[in-house]
């Protein structure tokens, strides 16, 4: 990827134009931040799905563990917030180590096992009251700090932080994809057995992808905890942290890097502004329908569907 003009213009737009345009409106800004949080999870989910070939229904576990780890470190041990956010990612990695035995399982078994794991961590967070505050949750989690006289705990500040996190992750994703590991992982997607024969330790590589994905998701969860200053188990480990990112990643195309992020912004904003006002409770129904429709009609994302349609129109003309 060359640092060409389009990318610079895009960066300027998201870093400067978005805060300038919406910075005054707290409601819009909080929606944008939330959609970027979803984008970060969607990116980490897509990394695992695209590079590792694994479908995860357990990313809520990483998100929640990252959030709790960072909140507890900063509250009880006085770790500076920006450091504890990174350590939250490390916490999610540690949690994902517990999932490594599941890598012995293939395809559908892996997906179910990781779904089960998400339940475990929610129960742990609820039961381990001395550390997590139980179902009452943790409040007064330290805010994002001031840096160079700029208050990051404002909506716009939060936006800049999560935007940076997501962009750095996208860069890491791109780096992995272009590296030799990425080559091996893509080969594994074609035929895992053949890749093993030529000497690639496929289980190790898949394990590494799980760790990277967990780290990313954990950092996003940690950011969110400090951004909203409150945590409770049902929120931190909510199934929403799985459903919306999956819909977003599939919608935008989970085999691309920008797809999940753009998908997250679109899906989340439409969900919040349109679906939620039509069906207040149970608006996830629409997300489910969207997911089913995408998988049937265009599993590679909306972009490829549009391309297909225009090509068809072209041929017809």
């Amino acid at each position: 990827m060359k640092p060409n003009k389009t990318i610079i213009v895009m960066l300027l737009a998201v870093y400067i134009a978005v805060p300038l345009a919406f910075g005054r409106d707290n409601y819009v800004m909080s929606l944008v931040v939330a959609s970027m949080v979803i984008g970060g999870i969607a990116l980490s989910w897509a990394l695992l799905g695209n590079l590792g070939g694994m479908v995860s229904f357990g990313h809520a576990a990483f998100f929640g563990v990252g959030a709790y780890a960072s909140a507890i470190l900063s509250m009880k041990f006085g770790v500076p917030v920006l450091v504890s956010i990174l350590l939250g990612g490390v916490g999610a990695v540690v949690a994902s180590l517990a999932m490594l035995p599941v890598l012995r399982l293939r395809g559908p078994y892996f997906a179910l096992a990781i779904l089960a794991y998400a339940h475990i961590f929610r129960i742990l967070a609820t039961q381990w009251t001395s550390v997590t505050g139980g179902s009452g949750g943790l409040s007064n989690i330290p805010r994002l700090p001031e840096i160079f006289g700029y208050d990051l705990s404002s909506k716009t500040g939060g936006y800049l932080v999560i935007l940076t996190i997501v962009l750095v992750f996208a860069a890491i994703y791109q780096y992995i994809r272009c590296s030799n590991y990425g080559l091996a992982l893509r080969a594994m997607h074609e035929s895992e057995d053949a890749t093993r024969v030529v000497g690639v330790n496929s289980t190790l590589l898949k394990g590494l992808m799980l760790l990277v994905s967990a780290f990313m998701c954990g950092v996003v969860g940690a950011f969110n905890a400090h951004y909203i200053n409150f945590l409770e188990p049902d929120y931190a480990f909510s199934g929403l942290w799985v459903t919306i990112p999956i819909v977003a990643a599939i919608f935008g195309g989970y085999r691309t890097i920008t797809g999940p992020i753009v998908g997250a912004v679109v899906v989340y904003l439409v969900d919040q502004l349109v679906f939620k006002s039509i069906i207040p409770s149970g608006h996830q129904l629409v997300l489910g329908v969207l997911l089913v429709a995408m998988i049937i009609f265009s599993p590679d994302g909306l972009l490829s569907l549009l391309r297909k349609l225009t090509r068809r129109a072209h041929v017809a003309a």
Partner: protein, 290 residues
């Protein structure tokens, strides 16, 4: 203390019956189509809510809800089959995401129709105590344990003796060879979804008759069914029953000795233990390791 433990063992045993029905449905579809139906727990839950509606709306005993639940759940199961059949590529990954999406749809439909409240039966006939020696249970628990044993017997007969059952087994062991023998795999897949729907419908009514249900319970049920198939190894009905009873007993013991909040953890503990110690399941299965 001993009494409590014995009582927990007995309750766990009875609970194992419906767990086994749920797990068998999941395993049957997986065998025939190599698709894990992540919405399977939601199908069970749908049946439980049909039973609730029949009881609260018509005032009938939940057991009479079974025919209606059978129709509703089997139709839903068949719809899942047709939607999964529309997947064109990467079926393994896409079918997971697809059935997950169907699960989300069903959970939210249930939420919209029946609200988020926890529901349980109000039927006194179902809740009446039955005493067998030193053991207590509700009538519904014994009733549905017997029903599930009968259904498992029926399933065993169907799979080993009837033409369609044998066709389902043939397709799961070797699809191409089965085709050469004149079996239509698409049709057997459909049949397996219908049978899974029948099992889910009965299990759902059973769950409602002796327990509590809430809209979020569906994915928990899917996970339980999965844990049982890992314990048992796919492929044997008695194995699944033993795995289901094991899970039921472990859960009941946890509730008695520790706390009901830890109930789900113990299943996961068992699951991890089996994964580490006996990766091919307690009763052996192949093809699961990567």
């Amino acid at each position: 203390m001993t009494e409590l433990v014995l009582q927990a063992l007995y309750s766990g045993l009875l609970q194992g019956g419906s767990y086994a029905l749920i797990a068998l449905g999941l395993a049957l579809v997986f065998g025939a189509m190599k698709v894990i139906n992540l919405a399977h727990g939601e199908l069970v839950l749908l049946s439980a809510y049909v039973a609730y509606s029949v009881e609260s709306g018509l005032g009938w005993n939940p057991i009479f809800a079974i025919p209606i639940a059978l129709v509703v759940v089997c139709l839903s199961s068949v719809m899942v089959y047709f939607v999964v059949g529309r997947i064109k590529k990467d079926r393994e990954i896409n079918s997971l995401i697809l059935t997950y999406g169907i699960g989300v749809i069903l959970t939210n439909l249930i939420l919209l129709i029946w609200k988020a409240d926890v529901r349980s039966t109000g039927s006194t006939w179902m809740q009446e105590a039955i005493v067998v020696g030193p053991f207590y249970s509700m009538r519904s628990e014994v009733l549905f344990f017997v029903v599930s044993l009968v259904m498992m017997g029926g399933l065993w007969w169907w799979l080993s003796r009837s033409w369609y059952g044998r066709a389902v087994r043939a397709v799961s062991s070797n699809r191409d060879a089965a085709k050469l023998m004149g079996i239509d795999p698409g049709y057997t897949e459909l049949v397996s979804f219908v049978v899974a729907g029948i099992l889910a419908a009965v299990a759902g009514v059973a769950l409602f008759s002796y327990g509590v249900v809430s809209p979020a319970y569906g994915s928990v049920l899917t996970v339980k069914a999965f844990i049982i198939t890992v314990l048992a190894g796919i492929g044997s009905i008695p194995g699944v029953l033993i795995g289901a009873v094991l899970l039921g007993v472990a859960e009941a013991l946890t509730v008695t000795l520790a706390s009901s909040a830890l109930q789900e953890l113990v299943g996961m503990g068992l699951f991890l233990l089996v994964l580490f110690v006996m990766p091919s399941g307690l009763f052996g299965a192949k093809g699961r390791r990567g």
